[in-house]
Each structure stands twice: as structure tokens, then as C-alpha cells.
């Protein structure tokens, strides 16, 4: 059995702009039919990576293949990929259908056929009836759909999306997230999606690549990224977490900054390695002093702040060297301890993850 060919394969890709290294030695394989998210803060190199796949930037070093073909320095019009731009980049002097048919017309598809296929794509994104409109007559969400149709109509082998939902308001964004996901399953095209919104990446993608400072830090499924972050940055960037700094001890515990020892799975890290224990707020429990389960790791502190979220409360506990957030579901009848009282925060052994500092 042969290994299925990667839709996109990046090998040692480096991109420098003058003295600035925007993308630093990225190796990445994106499988055919995958919904892949490149996630990271702004300026982390995720958009540059996407633009290199699109052909809008050329890599300084490394190999970039699309379904096995080296495309490193091919111009964008010679690649089987299409892009949905962040600003949509719809041609303002063309109608919706002219915009959508543009790619086909440039590929010398006859006008009648191009229009027919464009209409089909417009129906796919539920924009039928608005073919004759101009982009400025459409709302942001509608422009987004047209941009999507304009890319999809060409049946690209890979569809690239550069923060396509960034300009939409929350409700619409969530709606489009679901639709994009459904659409991707329908058309079966590989999607590479750039976003700085970790929630968006978690909900939509099959796999996520987390980037920071030009480096690809971790690639994995949303569960892997969330449950087993590769390092401190990933743990901190994905979701909310408490990071308790410490050092690995030889007996499988971590010695925290205040000298407290907590038992955790130290994996194979050598004793003396500086690490952080990542404890998600929803994985920690709050107890009155003395009422915590005896065999669980715990720390003691003072309740400092309540943050009301509606469906939950975040209780901030001040330890003597840092603060810790604990999330409590706002179930009926729940009442949080008074501010200033002494509390104990405990967690299941498996709930805390050790990450390299």
C-alpha cells in the first residue's frame, strides 16, 4: 500500500524579507481532503506561509510541492490552488457573476459554460438571485460568499483561506464557520485556513498547525493541540490555561516555584528541566480548606475575584506567587465562596499537563 500523496508538502521552507525571517524552516504535510488550520498570533508567519502556497510569495529556501509537483517559484496563475482573500478582493468593476466567472474565463472556458458553472457556484454559496449586483451592493457576509464561490468554481486542488471570517461579526462568523465546514465536506477539496482565532481553528479544522515567530510549533488534531500542547506557547495560546512554573524532579513530580511538589506525568523529561504545569480552568476544582480529596494534587490560596460569564463563573485564586483561574459551571443553586476566604484548588492527576517552559 502506498502512502497517499500530500496535497501540500512544505519541506524546510524559509522566507526572509531583508533581515527579517518571516517563516523559519517549516516542514508540513497537509493531506488530501483535509481541513487544515494555520493558527497563530499576527505576525507569526502563517499568512506568509499561505501566500507561498498560493504563489504570491516565493520561498527563500526549501521545497514546496502540491500533489507531488514542485511549485516553489511558479506564478499563481500556474498553480492548481485558489485563494479567498482576507479583504475578499472582489473586482469592484464587475458584477457578482462576472467575478465568479473570471477564473474560468481566464482559463479559456467558453462564456456560456463559464456562466453556467458560475451560477452553479453562486447557488452553492446561496447567493442566487444576486448575480447582477456589484460587490459594493453586498454586505460583508455576502461578499465573503461571493469570494468563496469565485475560488471554488475553478475546482482548485487546494483552497486557501486567509482569515476569511475576520471581518464578520460574531453571529455571522459562527454561522459561516458551520457552513464552511459543511461546504468543505461537500466539495471534498483540501482547505488550508489561516486564522488567529483559536476557537475558530478548534471548531472547524481536522488538524491545526500552531505557529509563532515564523516557526511551526505543533501540528495535530484539535484534541491533541488542546490536551497535549507541545510547549508553553501552545498551551497558553490555545484556550485559557494556568501555567505554574517549576522544575522536573527525579521522582515524577514537579517542584513548583513555592517549593510545593505536585505529582504529574512528567513524560520523559529529565530531572532539572524547567517546565510549566498547564492546568485548564475547567479542569480545576475549588474546595473549602480540608475538604479536598486527599490523594489529589492541590495548592492553597485566597479567593481574589469573581468573573461572571453567564453560563459559568471564573474564580481567581491568589497563590503566594501567582494567580490561578478556576472555571465553575453556573449550575442552579451554586454560590461561590466569599472573596478573601482561603480555598484549595485541586485537580485530577491527568488534568494537568507538563510543558517545556
Amino acid at each position: 500500500m502506498t502512502v497517499p500523496e500530500a496535497a501540500v508538502a512544505l519541506n524546510g521552507i524559509i522566507k526572509r524579507f531583508g533581515d527579517v525571517t518571516a517563516v523559519d524552516r517549516v516542514d508540513l504535510n497537509i493531506a488530501d481532503g483535509e481541513f487544515f488550520a494555520l493558527l497563530g498570533p499576527s505576525g507569526c508567519g502563517k499568512t506568509t506561509t499561505l501566500r507561498m502556497i498560493a504563489g504570491l510569495e516565493f520561498p527563500t529556501e526549501g521545497s514546496l510541492r502540491i500533489f507531488g509537483d514542485e511549485v516553489g517559484t511558479l506564478p499563481p496563475d500556474k498553480r492548481p490552488v485558489n485563494t479567498v482573500f482576507q479583504s475578499y478582493a472582489l473586482f469592484p468593476h464587475m458584477t457578482v457573476i462576472q467575478n465568479v466567472a473570471f477564473g474560468l474565463r481566464m482559463q479559456k472556458v467558453a462564456k456560456a459554460e463559464a456562466n453556467e458553472r458560475a451560477l452553479e457556484a453562486i447557488r452553492l454559496v446561496k447567493m442566487d438571485g444576486k448575480e447582477a449586483r456589484r460587490p459594493h451592493q453586498l454586505s460583508g457576509g455576502q461578499q465573503q460568499r461571493v469570494a468563496l464561490a469565485r475560488a471554488l468554481v475553478n475546482s482548485p486542488k487546494v483552497l486557501l483561506l486567509d482569515e476569511p471570517l475576520g471581518a464578520l461579526d460574531l453571529k455571522l462568523r459562527q454561522e459561516m464557520q458551520r457552513e464552511l465546514k459543511t461546504l468543505q465536506r461537500e466539495v471534498g477539496i483540501t482547505f488550508v485556513f489561516v486564522t488567529h482565532d483559536q476557537e475558530e481553528a478548534l471548531t472547524m479544522s481536522d488538524r491545526i498547525g500552531v505557529m509563532n515567530d515564523g516557526e511551526l510549533l505543533q501540528v495535530g488534531t484539535p484534541e491533541e493541540i488542546y490536551e497535549r500542547p507541545a510547549n508553553r506557547f501552545v498551551a497558553d495560546f490555545i484556550g485559557q490555561t494556568n501555567l505554574l512554573d517549576g522544575t522536573v524532579e527525579s521522582d515524577g513530580t514537579v517542584c513548583l516555584r513555592n517549593g510545593a511538589r505536585v505529582p504529574v506525568n512528567t513524560q520523559s523529561l529529565a530531572a532539572g528541566t524547567p517546565v510549566a504545569v498547564s492546568l485548564r480552568p475547567e479542569r480545576a476544582q475549588l474546595h473549602q480548606p480540608g475538604q479536598q480529596p486527599a490523594d489529589l494534587p492541590h495548592v492553597t490560596g485566597r479567593l481574589e475575584q469573581h468573573t461572571y460569564l453567564g453560563n459559568a463563573l471564573v474564580l481567581t485564586v491568589a497563590l503566594d506567587w501567582m494567580t490561578l483561574d478556576v472555571r465553575v459551571e453556573n449550575l442552579s443553586g451554586y454560590s461561590a465562596p466569599a472573596l478573601g476566604t482561603e480555598v484549595v484548588v485541586s485537580w485530577d492527576r491527568d488534568a494537568a499537563v507538563v510543558v517545556r517552559a
Partner: protein
């Protein structure tokens, strides 16, 4: 006490709103009044006088009788010599405009896609010639184009003169393909080639600036989108860049075409006696031939062409020139 005074109690009503709008309009008029009066006194009224003169009669003494209104001056526009001058002027204006467009477009695109700091420096370079008197710059061209001047040297050094001689020496059956102006290339002074060189030089900034303004406003990701959608560079230029910069193309073309059509200084200094253009011809009518009605009629034609050009500009969706 929150320290904020309550707004004065003025009851809002349609009358209050109307009064406010009236006051606003009056203030706006007052602000515009100086320019308005200036244009009326020094532009609209003189133009009216010129138009009036074009319907008057020239008397035997070379004066103008403001009576016996007629269209005789306009009838003369059909005379062969006048037609030749009109068409020559139109043709040279068109050629100048096209050359300016071809030179300016890539340059404007280049400026518009630089960093803002670089852009500003380059725009200053474009405008530097304006710091020198137009007349002086035209005389400078005369020095360049003179016999044994820089132009001659360059022509000799590059072998262009040999090339021209060779082209003109080609057999008769192929001569039709060689434009007449070629023979003036080695020494263009006092020929149409000299005039076009001077006009292109003089009016190029008028083409670059509106083109720059138009291209600068185009979202560059549209170009990337076009390339991403399988358009070649050339197709992107034709389908995306040119349509989107059309307001600049039209504005620049009008700004070059209109002064080229009425040009007087450049043809006077760089053109020869054989190549009379509209501007010089009008001057001759007023000063030498002392036929004010005919000179006025020619001027009215010139203004009419300009108004037509402006109208095309507005029809094509352009705004301020």
C-alpha cells in the same frame, strides 16, 4: 451633580431645521464667494465677450463692428487651410496624449506601489520641472535639439541617423510603411517631431499625477486575486488594472490633450513656419491679420472641444480633474 450643563431648551421644529440649513447654505456661499466672483469677472465674462466677437463683422480698417451679427467667421472653418491647421492640431494633441499615456502609466504604477516615503520623493521629482519657467524649459529643448546639440550627438552616437537613412532609402513599394516623421528624427527642431517632444515633456506630469492618484487608490490585493484566478500579467493589466484606473486615464488624457490642442509657446519655439497650429493661428488672427471675429470663432471652437472633453470625463464617472 454630574457637572454637565443641560443643553439649552430650544424646541426642535421643521422651521428651526430649515433656518439652520439656510444659514449653512449662506455660510457656504460666503466662503466660495471670492473664487466665484473672480471666475465670473475674469473667466466667464471675457469668454462671453469672445463669443460675442465671433459673431461680429470685421471692417475694412481691421477693427470690429459690433453689429450685423453673422456666422461668416464660422463658415471660414471649412476653408482648406483652416481645416488643415485644425486637423494637424488635433492630430498632434492626440499623439502627444497617447505618448504621455504610454510613458506615464508604468511610471505611475511604479510610484503607486512603492513605500509611502519613496512615493513622496518620486512625486516631488515629477513636480520639480514646474519650479522652472515653462518658456525657459522650452528654450532649453531648443538648445538640446539644435544642430550639433546633444540630440544630434546622441543620434550620431547611436547610429540612428544611419538607420533613418537606410529606412528612407528602402524601395518604393515598402515606403508606405515608414511614417513621414521619421525623416525629422535626426534633427527634429522646427518640425512636428520637435513640437511633440516639447509637448510630451511639458505635459507629462499632468498625466502622471492623476494616473498615480487613480492607481494608488486600487487595492493591490485585486491584482493578486486576478493572478490567483489564472490571469496572466497582461490579462490582469487589461481586465483589472486599466478598468480600475480609467478615471485617472481619462483625467490625465484630458489634462494633456486640452493644453496640447491650444499650445502656443512650444510650437512657437520648437516648431517651424510650415507647421502652424491652432494656438499660433489664433494669435495671428488677432495681432497680424486683425480679424478679431475669426480669431474669436477659432477660440470658441477650442473651448467647445475642451468642454466636450470634460463632458466625456464626467460621463465616464470621473470627478475632479
Amino acid at each position: 451633580m454630574n457637572g454637565v450643563a443641560p443643553p439649552p431648551a430650544v424646541e426642535a421644529s421643521p422651521e428651526t431645521e430649515r433656518a439652520a440649513l439656510r444659514a449653512d447654505a449662506w455660510r457656504g456661499f460666503l466662503l466660495a464667494a471670492p473664487a466665484y466672483v473672480y471666475l465670473m469677472v475674469f473667466f466667464v465674462v471675457p469668454l462671453g465677450i469672445v463669443t460675442m466677437y465671433s459673431f461680429a463683422t470685421r471692417n475694412r480698417q481691421g477693427g470690429t463692428d459690433l453689429q450685423g451679427w453673422n456666422l461668416d467667421s464660422y463658415a471660414r472653418l471649412d476653408e482648406p487651410i483652416v481645416r488643415t491647421i485644425l486637423f494637424r492640431s488635433l492630430w498632434l494633441a492626440v499623439v502627444t496624449t497617447v505618448i504621455c499615456l504610454v510613458i506615464a502609466y508604468p511610471f505611475a504604477y511604479f510610484i503607486a506601489t512603492r513605500r509611502p516615503a519613496v512615493r513622496n520623493v518620486m512625486l516631488v521629482f515629477v513636480m520639480i520641472p514646474f519650479w522652472t519657467n515653462f518658456l525657459v524649459r522650452n528654450y532649453a529643448w531648443r538648445v538640446i535639439l539644435e544642430n550639433d546639440g546633444i540630440w544630434n550627438d546622441a543620434v550620431d552616437a547611436t547610429g540612428t541617423d544611419t538607420l533613418v537613412d537606410w529606412l528612407l532609402g528602402l524601395p518604393h513599394w515598402i515606403q508606405w510603411a515608414i511614417p513621414n516623421w521619421i525623416e525629422h528624427l535626426p534633427s527634429p527642431l522646427f518640425s512636428e517631431v520637435g513640437i511633440v517632444l516639447g509637448l510630451v515633456y511639458g505635459f507629462l506630469p499632468f498625466m502622471i499625477l492623476p494616473l498615480y492618484a487613480a492607481i494608488e487608490r486600487i487595492d493591490l490585493s485585486l491584482i493578486e486575486a486576478s493572478r490567483d484566478l489564472y490571469a496572466s500579467g497582461r490579462q490582469t493589466l487589461r481586465r483589472v488594472l486599466i478598468p480600475l484606473s480609467m478615471p485617472g486615464i481619462v483625467a490625465g488624457s484630458i489634462l494633456v490633450f486640452v493644453p496640447s490642442l491650444g499650445a502656443y509657446v512650444t510650437p512657437q519655439i520648437l516648431g517651424g513656419d510650415k507647421e502652424t497650429l491652432l494656438g499660433s493661428y489664433i494669435v495671428v488672427q488677432f495681432l497680424t491679420a486683425r480679424n478679431w471675429p475669426f480669431g474669436a470663432a477659432l477660440s470658441v471652437v477650442l473651448v467647445a472641444v475642451m468642454l466636450l472633453a470634460t463632458r466625456i470625463h464626467f460621463r465616464s464617472g470621473g470627478r475632479a480633474l
